[in-house]
């Protein structure tokens, strides 16, 4: 024991850090902030450190070359001892990182911690969020599989829409005119050097400000932040009801860190690494690229926005969102901190949560994408073929062969791009069906050029049988009247 303490003294005589560390560790924090609500910032830091470690471990094997990256991931997955597990830890770690950073941000927002004098801490935090997302996207590119390859294409297509600078930005992003070796090399440099260095620096700054300004006190309804008096009040609070950070508050951070890491270890072990999906070969087009989890909402948004709104939304939306986040502490730098007295803030968070959640869950089954192989893979369910005439069955064949099934479902089978056709005959008359098939419209392509009159007749005859039992198909009453002299029985309900 004596030896250890002598060694410690020897080092501290030269480093002179012990007292600074002791002061930092024992700095007083308001008693109520020793709370489970205050653990997410340190949680994000712990996951970040984990990402640094697993990232370095992956770099021992990974080859940042367009020709070899995918192979080196296969080697990691299948040949290197536990390479798959390190990949899983890093991949799931990125999901954890995004999630914990977002939770931290929501907590900080709802507890009013961005208000005076912590405006800059919040602003640095906004940049940390952007960099976290930048790491997530560039990391997905380094996986350099099919999803990554076409994902960069999507990034390039979005940036190309910027007025004037667009084409220039595409070349800057890709490192050349096409997605190739240069693209992967620059994303490697961003993911492994540029962004992490900035992240480390800003994390340091963020932490320094938390220490210098003190952790945000527990917000009490009615305790108003005023620039003139806040700092005095905060120090009074510390004097009256402060506890040393170590050990009074830190034990919760420590347990949360352990819990997070254990959860990450278990999730990574259970679910394994992400991909890689198919080889990044631009000539293999049998693929349906999907982004990683945290960008799924964007994928849904890009599918569902009306075409004419898309470019403005893509170019203006992020600018407005980031500007709002950066300006927030200046727009609401004083006033009430407690979420109990800030209904707009709570509703805003709820709204953003519902929007992101809805889009993410929609992207899970992507109803806007045609099911590319439904026409050859998913048969028309039997119940739609019972008691049918030869013409109607021929129509069912046309339905299948012309790939209507890729976008329209029958009995829950098939694409969801267009409406389900289980009871289409109830809502459209024969003439309307013919018009819709031939001319398209309402987001459906026109099939006039591609269907012979016989095929159209058969297809529409089949579609007319699609109505629930006991419910008659739609018919045009005026048509029946006009036809009466020639045919006394109007379009008979089936």
């Amino acid at each position: 024991m004596r030896l250890i303490s002598q060694l410690a003294q020897w080092f501290d005589a030269r480093l002179q850090l012990a007292s600074a560390i002791r002061d930092t560790a024992e700095h007083p924090v308001p008693r109520q902030t020793a709370s489970w609500f205050y653990v997410f910032g340190s949680g994000a830091l712990v996951i970040f450190m984990m990402q640094v470690v697993t990232g370095i471990l992956l770099a021992f094997v990974y080859v940042p070359s367009a020709g070899e990256a995918w192979n080196s991931l296969q080697t990691l997955n299948h040949s290197v001892t536990l390479g798959w597990y390190i990949r899983a830890l890093h991949g799931w770690g990125s999901n954890f990182m995004v999630a914990v950073v977002l939770i931290h941000m929501v907590q900080v927002f709802l507890f009013g911690a961005y208000k005076f004098p912590r405006e800059l801490t919040w602003i640095v935090g906004v940049f940390l969020l952007l960099m976290t997302l930048g790491m997530a996207f560039s990391g997905q590119v380094l996986r350099f599989d099919q999803d990554a390859f076409w994902g960069i294409g999507i990034g390039a297509s979005i940036s190309s829409r910027v007025p004037v600078l667009g084409p220039w930005m595409v070349h800057l992003l890709l490192g050349g005119p096409i997605i190739a070796g240069a693209t992967l090399s620059r994303f490697f440099a961003l993911h492994v050097f540029a962004i992490p260095v900035l992240l480390l620096g800003l994390v340091g700054l963020h932490l320094l400000m938390v220490l210098k300004l003190g952790i945000n006190e527990w917000p009490m309804p009615g305790r108003i932040v005023r620039k003139a008096s806040y700092e005095h009040e905060y120090h009074e609070l510390l004097k009256k009801d402060g506890v040393p950070f170590v050990p009074s508050a830190v034990w919760k951070d420590i347990f949360f860190a352990g819990f997070l890491l254990l959860l990450l270890a278990l999730v990574a072990a259970y679910y394994g690494p992400f991909g890689p999906s198919g080889r990044p070969d631009p000539t293999i087009i049998q693929t349906a690229p999907r982004p990683d989890y945290f960008f799924l909402w964007l994928y849904a948004l890009l599918s569902l926005l009306p075409p004419q709104m898309e470019t403005p939304a893509l170019l203006i939306g992020p600018v407005v969102a980031i500007a709002f986040l950066l300006l927030l502490p200046f727009l609401a730098g004083e006033g009430e901190k407690s979420w109990r007295r800030r209904p707009v803030a709570v509703l805003g968070i709820a709204l953003v949560g519902v929007i992101l959640g809805t889009f993410t869950s929609l992207a899970g089954h992507a109803p806007w994408s045609p099911v590319m192989d439904a026409w050859s893979g998913d048969p028309v369910p039997k119940q739609f073929l019972k008691n049918q005439t030869a013409l109607e069955r021929q129509g069912a064949l046309v339905f299948q062969l012309k790939q209507c099934h890729n976008c329209h479902s029958l009995g829950e089978i098939g694409g969801k791009r267009g409406p389900a056709l289980d009871s289409v005959a109830v809502v459209q008359t024969r003439d309307q069906l013919i018009r819709q098939v031939i001319q398209g419209g309402g987001n459906m392509p026109a099939y006039g050029k591609n269907l012979s009159p016989a095929e159209t007749t058969a297809l529409v005859a089949f579609l007319e049988t699609l109505h629930p039992p006991g419910q008659s198909p739609a018919h045009d009453a005026s048509r029946a009247l006009a036809n009466q002299p020639a045919d006394t029985s109007p379009a008979s309900p089936r």
Partner: protein, 183 residues
């Protein structure tokens, strides 16, 4: 009174030193920025105008649309498979063709040709195009991108040096995608 003067002298030297460093930094910034931005500001290389072979014209029967691949004009040994690109060739008749980029005009995913329904379908966000490349439905605002082509000595050649994106010069080269007349 000598001390403040002395300090002023030192302070001036510090300022001069900072200005000196700023000048050197500005000087160094020129090569660094030119290196960093070279891929964007180098301008359109003449290789974009190279004619790339899609192989014999015999592979593309009249009245059909076929898949074809080509090697990009600027490749590095480490590009691997990404040195290749793909396109769709529609042979209208003996002389007239259309060569469509594989990239959807929406956000660049690879479109697939379905001869049965006569449509190009995109697997990502659900864009659809008619056989002549014009927009049929979905999020794209325009038709498929077309590459300029020519036939020389029985070989089909195209100009395709650049990833076509909605805002790229390559996209404006072509006139594909008038809206389908009815609808």
């Amino acid at each position: 009174m000598t001390l403040p003067e002395n300090m002023t002298r030192r302070a001036l030297l510090v300022k001069l030193g900072i200005v000196f460093n700023a000048c050197v930094a500005a000087l160094l910034a020129i090569p660094i920025l030119r290196y960093l931005l070279s891929s964007a500001v180098a301008g359109r290389k003449s290789s974009y105008r190279n004619w790339l072979s899609l192989g014999s014209i015999e592979q593309f029967p009249e009245g059909q649309t076929r898949f074809a691949t080509f090697t990009n004009p600027d490749v590095q040994p480490w590009d691997g498979k990404t040195a290749q690109s793909a396109c769709w060739v529609r042979r209208i008749d003996a002389e007239r063709l259309q060569v469509f980029a594989i990239n959807c005009a929406h956000l660049g995913c690879p479109v697939r040709w379905f001869p049965q329904s006569g449509l190009f379908l995109c697997p990502c966000h659900g864009g659809a195009y008619y056989e002549d490349g014009s927009r049929a439905s979905g999020p794209p605002e325009r038709g498929l991108f077309e590459y300029p082509y020519k036939i020389e000595n029985g070989t089909l050649l195209i100009q395709a040096g650049e990833l076509p994106t909605p805002g790229s010069p390559a996209a404006s080269l072509t006139a594909a995608g008038k809206e389908f007349p009815c609808g």
